[in-house]
Structures are given as structure tokens and as C-alpha cells.
């Protein structure tokens, strides 16, 4: 059996503490082990630091498990009502046009309660960035169906899985927003593995850059794990995310520079990307 020598630090290793984003405050939190939301948050915080816009960034946070982040991130924040963050962000941006303004919302917040808010804000082309943490359930209430729950997905009020006939179809919010003239950049990321996290971080960067250029509204949806709300073992949740939600809410850049991509195009791109990764792995690794 292979063993790992832990008596000394391996060369080139970094401690977890070294990877803590500058904008993350440490303290007690109540998020579940295996939750995907902190990974998405990390993408956002690191990007704010990387773009050197720290002292001009204001966030607006909705209501969900991620509301806990309001106490744990060193960012000027406004707590909004469930669903209403995009309007609050609009008011902030209009009064402080030089600020980098983002919202952080869940699927229940943005796609259920406040759908009109995000659509109108996008259509208006407000130069703000809305970040959606999409796990297809109301995590905070204990795992109930949202407007993005995919067909077949089990939740507390779709015990045998979401059925189109009875519960209707999920909304593909990124696709909807990408069709609006005022939206300049729209992307859907995921945090089910390290590669996906790296891709998502690039999306967040492009969204914030687009905001800074004043191109219009930018949007990044991030698929996140919610093992608690899905009632599955923590270790299985990344794969579950990829295979269930990820199969319907397809990852990729849905709109760049005004060009909208269809789900089929994203699929094709993702398959090609996967092949390339596999080929590089077979050829000796992903380095470089």
C-alpha cells in the first residue's frame, strides 16, 4: 500500500492559510461541509483582489445560506431582501458609477422570488455584475424545489423527483438573460472540480472587466453543491452536480461581445474541451 510521508512539508506545498483570499475574514460559520458556495465566493473574492478594484467594490447580498457571507467577507455590503438585490445594486451604481458593484444571490432568491429584478436590470444594461449560486434547491429551508430544480431531481417537495407535468420545467436563467440586449457578458460556471473552479474564476473576471468597461450588464451563474439539500453523501455531491444540474444548466460562456451561444454549441465546446484534457493527460499531464 502506498504511504505518504507527512513528517515533513513536501516541497512547493502551500498551507491552506496561504490560499485564503485577502478579502475573507476568519471566524465561525454555519455552512455545511461540502457546500459549493464558498468555492464560488472564493472565485469572486480572488478576482476582486486580482483586478485591484478592492477599495471601490460594493456587494449586495440576497437571502439564503450565503447570507452568512455578509459577516465573513471584508467587502462593503448591503443586505437586500429576498430577490431584490439587482434593484438595490442599480441604486448604488447610479449614485456611485465608479464603484464595482456585484450581487450575490441564490436560485431561490434570483430565479424564484426576484426573477423580474434580474431580467429588468439586465435589459436596462445596468453596469453591475449579478452572481448566481445555483444549486437547484432552497438549501436554507432544508431542500425544497426552486425554479431551477431539474426534471427528476428529488427535493423535499418533489419527493419522487421533479415532474414536468406536475411541477413544470426548470428555468435556464443564463440562457434567458443572454437574449437581452442590455446583457454584455453571460456565463455559467460550476465548482464540481478544480478545472471547473478555474474556468469559473475566469468567467467572474471577464464579467467584472466587462462592468468596468461599462459594456452593460454582466452575469455569472455558478452551479454549486448542496449535499444537505440534495440528501446525498457529501463525497458524491460534485459528481451529482455535474451529472444532474450540469447536464441541463450547461457550463460555458453564453454571451461574449454580444454573440449568444446555444446550449448545443456549449455542449459541443465542452465535449471538445474534455477530449483535449484527456489527450493532455494521456500525454503526460496538465502542466503548462
Amino acid at each position: 500500500m502506498p504511504t505518504l510521508d507527512t513528517s515533513t512539508e513536501p516541497s512547493g506545498a502551500r498551507r491552506v492559510g496561504d490560499l485564503t483570499p485577502d478579502l475573507l475574514l476568519t471566524g465561525e460559520h454555519h455552512l455545511c461541509p461540502g457546500c459549493g458556495e464558498p468555492l464560488a465566493l472564493r472565485c469572486l473574492l480572488d478576482t476582486i483582489t486580482d483586478l485591484e478594484v478592492t477599495t471601490q467594490t460594493i456587494g449586495v447580498v440576497g437571502i439564503g445560506c450565503y447570507t452568512a457571507f455578509t459577516t465573513s467577507i471584508d467587502v462593503d455590503l448591503v443586505q437586500a431582501l429576498h430577490g431584490r438585490a439587482p434593484s438595490v445594486a442599480t441604486g448604488i451604481k447610479r449614485m456611485r458609477p465608479d464603484a464595482v458593484v456585484f450581487t450575490l444571490q441564490g436560485d431561490g432568491d434570483m430565479v424564484n422570488e426576484g426573477l423580474q429584478e434580474v431580467l429588468h436590470t439586465a435589459a436596462r444594461g445596468e453596469a453591475v455584475t449579478c452572481v448566481l449560486l445555483n444549486n437547484g434547491v432552497f438549501g436554507e429551508t432544508g431542500g425544497h424545489m426552486t425554479a431551477t430544480t431539474v426534471l427528476g431531481q428529488r427535493t423535499k417537495n418533489t419527493i419522487d423527483g421533479r415532474e414536468a407535468e406536475y411541477h413544470g420545467y426548470p428555468i435556464l436563467i443564463g440562457d434567458l438573460i443572454s437574449r437581452l440586449e442590455g446583457a454584455s457578458y453571460v456565463a455559467r460556471g460550476s465548482v464540481h472540480n478544480a478545472g471547473a473552479v478555474a474556468r469559473t474564476k475566469k468567467m467572474v473576471r471577464r464579467a467584472l472587466e466587462s462592468q468596468r468597461r461599462g459594456d452593460g450588464f454582466s452575469f455569472v451563474e455558478v452551479l454549486t453543491m448542496c449535499p444537505t439539500g440534495w440528501f446525498i453523501p457529501t463525497g458524491e455531491s460534485p459528481e451529482y452536480l455535474h451529472e444532474t444540474l450540469g447536464a441541463v444548466h450547461v457550463m460555458g460562456e453564453l454571451k461574449v461581445d454580444g454573440r449568444v451561444k446555444t446550449t448545443d454549441e456549449l455542449h459541443t465546446e465542452n465535449v471538445a474541451r474534455q477530449r483535449e484534457v484527456e489527450a493532455r493527460l494521456a500525454a503526460g499531464g496538465l502542466d503548462g
Binding site: 485577502d22 478579502l23 475574514l25 476568519t26 471566524g27 476582486i48 483582489t49 478592492t54 477599495t55 471601490q56 467594490t57 460594493i58 449586495v60 447570507t67 455578509t70 459577516t71 465573513s72 467577507i73 471584508d74 467587502v75 462593503d76 455590503l77 448591503v78 443586505q79 437586500a80 431582501l81 431584490r84 439587482p86 434593484s87 438595490v88 445594486a89 442599480t90 441604486g91 448604488i92 451604481k93 447610479r94 449614485m95 456611485r96 464603484a99 464595482v100 423580474q116 429584478e117 429588468h120
Partner: protein, 379 residues
Amino acid sequence: MTTIAVRGAERRLMEGSEAIALASIAAGCRFFAGYPMTPFTEVLEHFARYLPEVGGTCINAESELEAVGMAWGALATGARAATGSTGQGLSLMQESFAEITLAELPLVIFNLARGQGDYFQATRGGGHGDYRHLVLAPVDITEAVELTQLAFHLADRWRNPVLVYGDYLTAHVEESVSVDPIDFGPVPDKDWAVDGATTGTGHAKLLSPLGLAKFGAEPIGIEAHLRRIVAKQHEIERTEARAETGYLDDAETVVVAFGSPARFVRSVVRDLREAGERVGFVRPITLWPFPADAVAAAAGARTVAVFELSAGQLIDDVRLAVLGRAPVVGIGGISTDGSGFGVGRLLDVETIRDRVLAVHRGGADAALPPLPDNERTLW
């Protein structure tokens, strides 16, 4: 400091909606968001016209829900900001009103209402939880100019929303007014406002209705947060009540009324006084805090009559102030035009005089003349 020439500084005939928009701008309001609805619509129109002239922003929001959300964001940056509608539109905003109060943001709200049936909405609030708004009810356009500016001052002074409650007449009657900036004295610094500058400094700000604090800051907790707001609201109750009274000393009948209808009542009472009748009036200017002391002073009268254009809402507060020391009767009622905008035939000096006199002569049990009916129905 830049000085911006105040539009409206020259006295001229101006309708209430224009005066309200100009008075807001004179008070430093730089953001407004609203959704059109009669009779409020022209307030929005005037903000849309005048705010850009002073570098401000007016957004024709896609819904009332979004209008109040946008104002919330603008307030968070420290700007003076307002929203408004009719009572119907304000119904849609109630959730935000409740939370904005708990987040201690100085929102100014205009209700250009369809009648006076929004008294409960204004003074009790239609939202959730323990919260109160200061409510100012102008009697005419001149007072609307003053109270609009006072609203922005009080909102900042107390970090609490202030509602200006007018009606169709407040919005659309033209009066000769000038809009001059009024200095109500200093207000606390907005050191809580977010501008992004504290992000990443270890002292980032959080504007939360939930009593949360960032790691490292002294935690507040929801209970202490709510209690602090309640204590503040008790202080407002103690210090901010305002009323106009007339002829109370020897009045046998005292009429209580607020807003535009109080202007009719005041005129009726003055005429009756000139005719030698011992009648008086109390006009609450603040509906919350309710000027209970001024109304209690009327308790020595034989009868306290309440004139309001609703089924009877203000009358509850009058009864609470009078505390059974005099009979309190309602002499108003539902009266509206065919469109439902709250301008009915009851709003007529002769008609009101007959009703006041009926109570004045016959006491609390007197039969009132029948309510005049509206002549036509539009729909």
C-alpha cells in the same frame, strides 16, 4: 461646495406634484425611482424632468418593488433618495419599507393617495415586524413644500423612513408658492454609507436589517438591534409630534381632520366661529407620532368629531388620545369620484358644515345628514 440655483425659487402658480419634486431637490434629494399611478404620476414626471438638471437620477422603475429597491441602494451610498406612489403602489413596497426601517436607512416616501383610506397603511405599516415611519400630512401646497423638506431632514436625523401623505388635491391643486431651501439644522454624519473605500481594509461596512456584524466587529445580535430601534422610535414619539389647533379653549365641539380635507374643516370652523358657534379644530400634521397631547386637549369638549374620507381610521387614534373623556364620533365617510381617486362630494364646505353643526347641536348621538352620492360612475 457647489451651489445649484434652486428651480422654483421664484413665486409662481405651481401644482403640488411639481412643488414636491422641486422641494425634494431643494432638500438635496438626488435620486428618485417610481412607477406611474394616478394621482402620483406627475410627481414622477417632475422628478424625471428636474433631477438630471442637478446631476441626479430618476428611474422610471419597472415595478413598485423595484422602485423601492433602487431607492434602497441609492440611500445606502449616503445619497438623499425617495420613492413614492399611491397607497395601492405602496402596498407593493411594504416588505421593503419594513426592512429599510430595520436597516436604518433614511428613505422618504410620497403617498399621493386616492382618499384617506391609507391612514392605517401609513401609520401602522403594512409590512412585517416592529417598525414605525414618521408620517407628515400637508394641508396645502405651501405646507407640502415645507414638509417635503422636513421629511428629508427627519429621515437623516433619525435614520428612519418618513412618509409624506397627500392626496389628489395635494398632487394637482395649483397654488402660488416659491420653493426656498429650509435649513432645519445639522444632521448626523453618514459614516455608515458604503462607497467601497473600506473594502479590504479590515473594516468593511455592512448595512443589514438583521443586526449582523462582520467578524472582528462587535456583534450586535438581532434582539439588541431591534430593541435599539424601538428605543429610537420611542424617542421620536416623545419629540416629533406636530399639530395645528384652533379655538380649543372654550370649544364645545372639536373637529379633528388631517391633510387636504382639514383645509375644508378649518375653513368651516372659522366660519362657524365668526357666526358665534363654539367650535374648534385639531389638525394632526404628524400622523405618527400622533399628536396625542394636542388631541387630548380637546377632551374637555362636549363632543369630538372626526372628519376623514374613509370608513374611519384616524378615529381610532383620536379615541386613544381622548381616552373616553368625551364621546368621539365620525362625521366623514367614503366619498369618491367616479374614477375612485377619492375626490367625492363630501369634500364640500357646505356639506361639511351641515355635518359639524348636526353634531354641535345634537351631540354625539345626533343623526347626520346622509352622505352625498357621487353623480356618475366612470366605469
